[in-house]
């Protein structure tokens, strides 16, 4: 296509748009003040003329008026930011997995056995969705092995809850990041006296697990209450399916949260795992009433 044949702004190649924008943007090292619009290539000149006609910007205004330059930059940005819907969704998924989006940009879903958790602790899906959409603080936890595809990833979200019906607490949601989906694994009411003025959700969760957690049996290692971005070599004594419900020295009921996968070489790649003793936690929940 010859440059003179641009009939619509949508026909202007992105490379030409980028060159034009570059001429309009301030170059801190350039001795030329204002936009650098002299010596345009034919394709740039044709594109600029079409853009000016479309926006009704005169040559004089373009050279002298910053607001005209900003209008043109805005239009070029609009054209450069066109992405096919599938490309946009794919970009969102990749950014979402890497924890670069805000919580409201993710869809929310629940683990398949969520109903069991809900029955046990009376935490309703709608309440949890509200915490995600109106969270007071959150943290996308990023694995050290961020280059490894599909390495499990976790996001923690907290919200201060206070109402006339209950003492104040912080609801802390543990969710797995799967592309642009947050899959909720569990949600815990954190005693308000655990919560500093500017809380870090990971610290809050660790303190909560320290208070209410059971020790998890880990092959070839001392048992632990809390696993966070860790790798466990499976030796057959613990089945991946039951992890982290293999709990040390207790017959008391526990509820586990585990975000993990088993790699092809048999390594349990854990984003987060812990188990909560149900009875002490329920006693705490009753004390909130």
């Amino acid at each position: 296509m010859s440059p003179e044949s641009f009939q619509q702004v949508g026909e202007i190649p992105t490379a030409v748009l980028a060159m034009l924008a570059n001429r309009l943007l301030r170059d801190p090292l350039s001795p030329t003040p204002g936009p650098r619009l002299d010596h345009l290539a034919d394709s740039e000149a044709a594109a600029l003329a079409l853009l000016q006609r479309t926006l009704g910007i005169s040559d004089q205004d373009l050279r002298a008026k910053p607001e005209a330059q900003i209008r043109l930059l805005g239009e070029i940005s609009r054209l450069l930011s066109q992405l096919a819907p599938d490309k946009r969704q794919e970009a969102a998924s990749r950014l979402g997995y890497r924890g670069l989006l805000r919580p409201t940009d993710y869809a929310v879903e629940f683990v398949p056995d969520w109903q069991r958790f809900e029955d046990l602790f009376q935490e309703r899906r709608a309440s949890i969705e509200d915490v995600v959409s109106t969270t007071n603080f959150y943290r996308h936890l990023v694995p050290d092995k961020r280059g490894v595809p599909d390495y499990p990833a976790v996001t923690l979200l907290g919200k201060r809850i206070s109402s006339k019906r209950t003492d104040p607490f912080v609801m802390l949601v543990v969710a797995e990041r799967l592309a642009s989906v947050l899959r909720v694994h569990s949600a815990w009411r954190i005693p308000i006296d655990f919560v500093p003025p500017t809380p870090d959700p990971l610290n809050l969760l660790e303190r909560f697990v320290d208070q209410f957690g059971a020790f998890i049996r880990i092959p070839n290692r001392p048992s632990k209450q809390f696993l966070y971005y860790d790798e466990v070599v499976l030796d057959g004594s613990v089945a991946a399916e039951t992890f982290p419900l293999a709990v040390e020295h207790t017959d008391a009921p526990t509820v586990g949260t585990a975000v993990f996968r088993v790699s092809q070489n048999g390594i349990l790649e854990v984003a987060m795992a812990f188990a909560i003793n149900v009875n002490p936690y329920k006693k705490f929940l009753r004390s909130l009433k």
Partner: protein, 158 residues
Amino acid sequence: MLLYSVNPRVKLVIQREFRGDRHYVWCSERFDSATAGPYTLAALVPPTSNPKQIYRGLKEACDRRDRHNDKIISIRAGYLTRAEQWLAAGEITPEARAEIVYLVTLDDFELWRPVLYLIPRAPVALRLQPVAPEQRAGAGPEFIIGDLAATEFETVEF
């Protein structure tokens, strides 16, 4: 001695994620040139280049959700342009270019909130490029650092 630079969060994210955590910054010797001594060069940095004013302007634009803020439009256009250039130069993949486009066009003013960079001057002194006088809004000194490492500055938000 410190140098000061104000940038939106999205810039911090893009440089970290797509440019190997090397940061391109435009910086000044004072956070607020109005507090510099009246007979110093730093006092000659005008409001449009004054980090404090840039910080305030971005913060107010975000609070107002102002889609037509000149600074935001310029930075967005800058990244859309650079994404094309980086792609053409083989420095990023088409996927990364799409991610940059997604980020800078996302309707999320949290990404445009200002961040103040505090840059100890001594380690970067030899890499400071003076901004051309024609590009400065005033006579006060301003500098470019094209490859600031993440370990060479701290960030503050307030």
